[in-house]
């Protein structure tokens, strides 16, 4: 194994789990997530010489996100049908769909945890900042880098995502307690 490959494995592969988790939250199916991860690691390997930042995780997740966008555009071009998320925005209250479409976010399909299901129901824009903050424990600056957003937008989206999640979490919890006789 050459030196470049060894350095890549030492610096980048520790973030492989994070790349996979993020891809699962972004992608529409587990298979899509697998393809995104593989493509992202290849792109990262090709661009590894240009890596100047010490924030390797943010750099890798940026690539994962770009791979997801590319894949999404290709799918849209092929399918030419509106994506399920687009309907959500018609209703201002529908920040979270309480009966999530199983096709829209793959992690919902096998998520047994209410919170994971509710996060899966968030619109893409909110879900990604929330996941990066609460699950990947990233700084605002890093989230801004990954999502290519100003920090102010990261903060406001994060606030809205949390408030929507909290609201539906409470609703869900009260719904469950009513269901128990």
């Amino acid at each position: 194994m050459d030196d470049r490959r060894r350095r890549f494995e030492a610096q980048v592969l520790p973030h492989l789990d994070a790349a996979y988790r993020f891809a699962r939250w972004l992608a529409r199916s587990p298979d899509d997530a697998d393809d995104i991860v593989q493509e992202a690691i290849l792109r990262a390997f090709r661009g590894f010489d240009a890596l100047r930042t010490s924030e390797v995780k943010a750099w890798l997740l940026t690539i994962v996100r770009n791979c997801h966008s590319t894949a999404l555009k290709q799918q849209q071009r092929r399918a030419q049908v509106p994506l399920p998320e687009e309907h959500d925005t018609q209703d201002g209250h529908a920040l979270i769909s309480t009966t999530p479409d199983p096709e829209t976010a793959s992690i919902r399909r096998d998520a047994e945890h209410t919170l994971a299901r509710l996060i899966g129901g968030l619109p893409d824009d909110y879900r990604e900042v929330l996941v990066l903050r609460e699950i990947e424990d990233m700084r605002y600056r890093e989230i801004a880098e990954v999502t290519n957003l100003p920090i102010g937008t990261v903060m406001s989206r994060l606030a809205r995502a949390r408030s929507a999640l909290k609201e539906h979490w409470v609703l869900q919890a009260s719904g469950e307690s009513h269901a128990v006789p």
């Binding site: 194994m1 050459d2 470049r4 490959r5 890549f8 492989l16 789990d17 790349a19 996979y20 988790r21 699962r24 697998d34 991860v37 593989q38 690691i41 290849l42 390997f45 090709r46 945890h113 209410t114 919170l115 994971a116 903050r133 609460e134 699950i135 700084r139 605002y140 903060m155 406001s156 994060l158 606030a159 949390r162 408030s163 999640l165 909290k166 979490w169």
Partner: protein, 260 residues
């Protein structure tokens, strides 16, 4: 969330506020009920998320797939790096033909071609071009697999021949996949092996009556030829002769065993 300080409270909660701002927000929290509620709610949510969310790890099969694709990629990168100097030599003599020494160069080239007809067999050029192109372009492998039972059937649908395919990883020659190339107007099968940092392309096509040398070297690449059944094989690589013949021997032994 109507208090204008709510985003500052969130930043404080996320550990993004500096010491002075943090002290400021702590004072604010003391007398703003709304922000105190917000702060508590953020804490509850985080606690629940940390408790309830599965800490998903990449499945072993996907990790292996990613590592395999890195293998192919680093092999391609190495191959590209190695193959480049070969191309650089071309403009050198092509450019010479336009200069004052041009005629001498042309004469020398012609003499070379006439005096060594064996080296100019068109199929040798085709093989060399196919080998170098496979290293330069992304067209090294059409079917990526380390499993002979995947590669061999793939050839059946894509080429005119059914060559010997086997993985010799224990002996140091790892099967990485297969490809189809055009050679002598046929769809030739190419089995791709990796030996250390070297790529070995093993071409096979329906043998013709023409006799080919057992071995020759061109542009630094070694080509080893042999026939088995009615197929012509040629292994091409920039690996040393000994290393290349190691694989040829394994393939010939396998062919011999299969014939018995």
């Amino acid at each position: 969330m109507l208090c204008p300080d709510s985003l500052r409270v969130q930043a404080y909660f996320d550990g993004e506020a500096d010491a002075i701002t943090a002290a400021d927000i702590e004072r604010h929290l003391e007398h703003c009920d709304e922000c105190r509620t917000l702060h508590r709610s953020l804490e509850q949510l985080r606690t629940a998320l940390r408790r309830d969310l599965p800490h998903t790890q990449i499945p072993a099969a996907l990790r292996a797939r990613v590592m395999r694709s890195l293998d192919v990629e680093s092999l391609l990168g190495t191959a590209q790096h190695r193959a480049r100097p070969t191309w650089r030599t071309r403009p050198f003599w092509m450019g010479a033909t336009s200069g004052g020494l041009g005629m001498a160069a042309v004469a020398a080239t012609l003499a070379f071609l006439v005096l060594s007809p064996r080296l100019t067999t068109p199929v040798v050029d085709e093989l060399l071009n196919a080998h170098v192109n496979s290293l330069l372009s992304t067209h090294l492998i059409d079917v990526v697999s380390t499993d002979q039972h995947t590669v061999k059937p793939w050839f059946a649908g894509h080429t005119d021949v059914s060559p010997l395919v086997a993985d010799f990883e224990p002996q140091g020659y790892r099967l990485v996949g297969g490809r189809v190339d055009y050679l002598e107007h046929q769809r030739a099968a190419v089995v791709v092996y990796r030996h250390g940092a070297h790529v070995v392309n093993v071409f096979s096509w329906a043998a013709t009556r023409r006799s080919l040398p057992a071995r020759l070297t061109r542009n630094g690449y070694h080509l080893a030829f042999w026939k088995a059944d009615d197929l012509q094989y040629c292994a091409v690589s920039d690996a040393g002769w000994e290393e290349l013949f190691g694989l040829v021997q394994l393939l010939q032994d396998l062919g011999g065993r299969a014939a018995r």
